[in-house]
Amino acid sequence: MDQKRLLDSGKYISELTDRINYIADIKGGIEWGSLRDLLDRVQAVRKKMFDLQEDELFVELDQVDRRLEFLEDQVAQDLSPIETVNIVRSPQRFTLQDILENCYDSYTELGGEGECNIDPAVVVARATITRRVKNKLYYHQVMVIGHEKGFGEEFRNGGCAKPWGNEKALRYMKVAEIEGIPIHSYIFTPGAYPVEDYPGAAQQIARNLFRMSRITVPIVAFVSEGGSGGAEAMGLADLRLMASRGYYSVISPEGAAAIEGRIKEGGKVPRELVEHCADQLKMTAEDNLRLKTIDRIIEEPPLGARRGDFKFFRRLRYEMVKATDEVVLETKSFRMFRSYALKRQSQERSNGFHDEFDIHIKWSLTDSEKKRLIELRSRKYRAMGKGYKELRQSIGSRLSEAVETVRQNYYDIRYGLLRQHSRQVQKLIEEVSSEGSVFLKTVTEPVRATYDFVLPKPKVTNGINQQDIFRRSIFMQDWEQYISPLANEDKTVSCPNSEKYGCRDLWVPDLYGEFCGVCPTCGHHFPLEYQWYLENLFDPGSVREFNNHIISANPLKFQGFDEKLKKAIKRTGRRSAIITFDASVFDIKIVVAMLYSDFRSGTVGSAEGEKFIRACDRARVTRRPFLAYIHTTGGIRIHEGTLGVIQMPRCTLVVREYIDSGGLYIVVYDNNSYAGPVASFLGCSSYQVGIRSSRIGFAGPRVIRETTGADVPPDYHSAKNALKRGHIQGIWDRREFRKNLFEALMTMGGPHLYYK
């Protein structure tokens, strides 16, 4: 055999071996079909390569090839969700490095290369992408940000970004914003690396989301492996593309199976259960497109793209350019051009992709276009993830809705029109006063007095002397009567710190009555029901619930979840894990969103997200402080899949709008607060406080142990440690909650409890 043919045969053998291994990866083992036999045949050919005649060798390899093609077709025809997950996890699948090499003309990695990097799982590169228009090349600068899984490189952590990796991503997003270049975000992560070290997994994702909601350059995201919160840290985009053989999910199928099957730590999760969960989670591209959590699917070869699929990279380049064009065009105020360009683009799409574009579109935005970009982003996310149900409202409720509309108009006039006017007058008076000093005072004083008479300042404390409020004991209030039902048992309990601090056994009626669930020796806070807070934190009779008609549902038709929902509804008498209400604290009116433990462990799904958003909007419209009191949250509800995950960017975006408009957003964590909500709309608050003995974090100890292989100390998630790490800004005693909240509202809220 001549040298060239010999080389060809070597490549052929290697390619066939890769294909066999790839199918084995997808089907979960080499024992599927006749893979073992084919592999043996290829290896036999390899061994006697130099003894065989050229024709004999190629005949044998061609036979294997044909057989493999048949098997590949068979696999592709009936690809299950778990097999899609296996495709994504295969070491032969393309990674960000391949995209950078093949889709972009040149790139410079920023923030280190390879192992010498603050987080090798996150790759940032300043790259150039070309557009060919009528045989002419145009170059676009972009910031490419994404996860790098590496090819067996251990230091990449399989694409699990550490908090400082996400911080790096955010830093360069800001650079892109300064430079006015679009961001291309590539998501290849099974999830964020769950460590609490500063800046903290959850808190950093929250910061990323908070900042990305207002980044004034187009962001286009491409998802290959979208593992929940880790994906969201870079996934808040104007256009979300997804690989046809990728997955985007709230949790890994194994994680979901461990929860559903109540598998103990270290126990083996049955394969059937994992497959079942993968199916139920609706994680494939088609599912996500149907759920509208992504905008478009990028077609891959039937068994997914691999490192050498150059045709796929050409398509991806084309799609990324086109997607960025679309985002830019949507912001254009010149409607004729926008509609013309979008029409041309849709024609291109219907004709199938090619390398050429009909027109050149610049990706820089003017100030007005930036504003429109942000508006469109907000509108887009507000319309996503609506997997809840709305009950038909009674006449009373409809009436209250009408009242709500009137109220909104009233607040618009009061705080929009009049406030603007009053501010200007106020400012003018102040300026004139300071300029003219004492001399002018005699002139301005009557004017000011008249102005104050016409538009009086709001009386925030309604005549209550602030000093008096602080002097009051909490045990002297009217609401003293509420006693937790936990106090009805005649028995004692032990404080968990009794060995350390020598706490004596506590008689339950004392503990849950007079002591408000607090150990008098060490101050440990025993959990109390959410009703205790409703009764004791707010002014008596001031709690007015709203949006009760929005209820949790089972949008994915997750098997068995309907029964679980029914049970939760029966147990709690409520229909979602969040209660939103107007209330007042020492006569300061506030809007409150309360996630509570009794209903599906306070997990957040579509209904919870929607109610939170509406509460936040209500606080914005009525210009009231917004309190998120988290009695407990177990994270995003896995049974709602990505409809739950999407609540993370959705709610954060609305919180950002509220804060930007001048709102005071305070988050108080109690008991246990973990995962998605902390990594988004809660963790983004500037004012986060933990109640004593609460635990705050991203992933629980078990997930950390299973993911990182390292054990964590028992107090790893304690509020004290969260404070030490800078995740929260203070720890409050439950008995002082009301007083501290009032103080916080007064000190942080400014004179009108609303900044702008």
Binding site: T492, S494, P713
Partner: protein, 214 residues
Amino acid sequence: MEINLKDLLKKYKSHPYEDHEIKTAHTGIVHLNVEDGQEVSGPTGRWKHRPGTLLYVLEREGNPKRITSMYTGFVTGLRKELDSNFVQAGVPVMVIRHSLNKDEIIDRILREVLYVFPAPQRARYFFTPEVAAAMEKEGANILNIKDGDEIVIMSLMKRDTLLSYLGPPGVLYKVYFRHGDLIEQGAPLLGICSPERLPFVERMIQRIRTEWDD
């Protein structure tokens, strides 16, 4: 006080155990969870956060308190008659007998034989350069120390303080810290052996290491 080393050795040879009597912390009804002779384990995990074997439940006023073993060993002297009965506080329920291994026996003997110089504060400790050089050159066991010798540096908040040895003169036999370790207040730093007792101690430890079964 003069220590009879032979007696000490004999004591550990005949009874290589450490007995821990488990008494009720308060009144209540005892529900036993172990059998006589059963092996039990103490707390485990890096932070000793996983409780040991459940020994018994002590119930008072509807509060069942799980009493777990703080030691690894086996149960002896179990008072079965207390099971499901009311007991007063301080009543012995069982004994956990912990079998001492060679290293534990040697450690205990040395604690009795040597003069232990404790760490005065929670700080990092180093040998003075001269002592470190001498130890590297000739080994620790021939370093003679007398009252007032400055042999250790205590490093705390970037301030180094020379520590003077206070105690009987002797040979530095055991060093309980590694260079630059953070040592808690009161933890042993150095073990000093009187020169006349040194050969016997060395022989005894040698014998334990080579002849005794684990």
